[in-house]
């Protein structure tokens, strides 16, 4: 089994505030790993490190076996920048809580732009690939619409298409449904589930416990900047070993009490 992603002893602090205190885990190719935990536990920061949107972390992140943002030289680890960094970073795709589509471009241009600018594809090939990915997430009919005219669910699906078109090795989802109206959540979760079934390697930070239960191969519960518990969803949700996992899950269940999810 090849490792798509390996994270070793990851630490990150902002001055005195230690956000990540030594996080170690692997994601195998084709595996779906969900990360759950209370806000402030470091889940999103973890994802931002793997995307190299935070660069001052300690420890090591490997994507497809290659060190991210660092290089070993003479036994020492030194930072890399520019094209060498982007080569590894390009193997990671990310979907954000707030979509982060570019509002001055149509949905189609949003997907085409990285293809033409970064991959230097010609416009026709980029357009074809972009349309293919928009169709895959079910928004091909919105190709010419500008993001502000799309619903949250449509925007997030365009954002997924934009990330997929770059053919990443690993897809990161940072609370991809948290800013959606409740009735739009399922259309995005459906796309994510479809990706998982197609064998996409996924690292998913989520508050959707049902999704984690049904789709994840493994679940990590984070608390206070460390992995507090890790296991298959059946074990972690139904027989949590740690008291703080139980406390967190009971809070979530309480939240969901009135919700038909």
């Amino acid at each position: 089994m090849t490792l798509a992603l390996s994270v070793r002893d990851l630490t990150l602090d902002y001055g005195d505030l230690k956000v990540l205190k030594g996080v170690t885990f692997d994601v195998a190719a084709g595996e779906v790993l969900c990360v759950i935990g209370p806000s402030g536990s470091g889940k999103s920061t973890l994802l931002r490190c793997v995307a190299y949107l935070e660069d001052h972390f300690g420890g090591a992140i490997r994507v497809d076996g290659e060190l991210l943002g660092r290089r070993e030289r003479g036994g020492k680890v030194v930072p890399v920048r520019g094209a060498a960094l982007r080569k590894v970073q390009g193997k990671v795709g990310m979907v954000f809580q707030h979509f982060n589509l570019w509002p001055h471009m149509s949905a189609l241009r949003n997907v085409m732009e990285p293809l033409t600018v970064v991959k230097r594809m010609d416009r026709e090939a980029a357009r074809a690939l972009a349309m293919e990915n928009l169709a895959k997430v079910g928004v091909a009919d919105k190709a010419d619409a500008y993001p502000p005219r799309l619903s949250g669910g449509q925007q997030q699906r365009v954002a997924i298409a934009r990330a997929l078109a770059m053919q990443p090795r690993v897809m990161l989802f940072d609370e991809a449904t948290s800013s959606l109206d409740p009735e739009l959540v399922n259309e995005v979760l459906g796309v994510m589930r479809q990706l998982a079934e197609e064998g996409m390697t996924m690292l998913v930070v989520t508050h959707e416990m049902e999704f984690a239960k049904k789709v994840a191969d493994r679940v990590i519960f984070m608390d206070g900047g460390v992995i507090a518990e890790e296991g298959p969803p059946a074990q972690l949700f139904d027989h949590p070993r740690e008291a703080r996992t139980r406390a967190f899950l009971s809070l979530i269940d309480h939240d969901l009490a009135g919700d038909p999810a």
Partner: protein, 220 residues
């Protein structure tokens, strides 16, 4: 008061207005183009360059904003040639002065525009593999431009107005040309009134076009 108006004098001096206006417009265009380019460069330096360069850029902005344009014009026309041996025509001395003076204001406007764009826009570009320059050119600046268009246009109007200061070093733009005409004719009321109208005719269309562009961008 029985002043004897003679509006015919304006017609007699129509070519002075036209030539003056040409120089005023040329001075303003050169000034605005270079001011915006330098301003963009300084804004990016303040935001993303290593600390010493960023501090230098801040000092540049503060110094230029806190000294009078008139002094800068005199200094560049009279002092800079003495210090460096390079001398400029009055036109270019004025154009350079306007460029650097207004570049400080443009730098501030552009910096604020860039800062107003959500952090997530840059995050998305970076994770998709855009370099810094590509992110700026394709994602951030096009969005920032829409937001800073109104203050940008105000500044361009200010450049046209303050280009009249070039008259003090003898550039034959509108102000200087009409001052000369008045010395010959002793007709300040007619000629200055018409001068104000000519400035208005130059500046108003700039604001008008900007307003239309803004509305068109907002429609999308």
């Amino acid at each position: 008061m029985s002043y004897n108006w003679n509006f015919g004098i304006i017609w007699d001096y129509r070519f002075v207005y036209v030539y003056g206006a040409q120089t005023t417009v040329a001075l303003s265009i050169v000034g605005a183009v270079f001011a915006i380019l330098i301003g963009l460069f300084v804004a990016l330096a303040r935001q993303s360059a290593p600390k010493p360069v960023a501090l230098l850029a801040s000092a540049y902005v503060e110094f230029l904003r806190n000294t009078p344009l008139l002094v800068q014009i005199f200094w560049i026309f009279y002092c800079l040639p003495v210090l460096t041996g390079a001398s400029f025509t009055a036109f270019w001395a004025a154009a350079i002065s306007l460029s650097i003076h207004f570049s400080a204001y443009f730098a501030e406007i552009i910096r604020a525009g860039i800062a107003s764009i959500d952090r997530g826009q840059t995050d998305a570009a970076r994770i998709l593999g855009f370099s810094y320059a590509q992110t700026m050119a394709r994602i951030i600046l096009p969005q920032a431009f829409r937001r800073i268009l109104p203050p940008l246009v105000n500044m361009i109007a200010d450049i046209v107005k303050l280009s009249s200061l070039a008259s003090v070093i003898g550039v034959y733009e509108l102000m200087h040309s009409i001052n000369n005409a008045i010395m010959n004719t002793f007709r300040p009321l007619e000629l200055y009134s018409a001068l104000a109208v000519v400035y208005f005719i130059i500046i108003y269309p700039v604001a008008f076009v900007a307003r239309r562009v803004e509305l068109r961008l907002a429609k999308r």
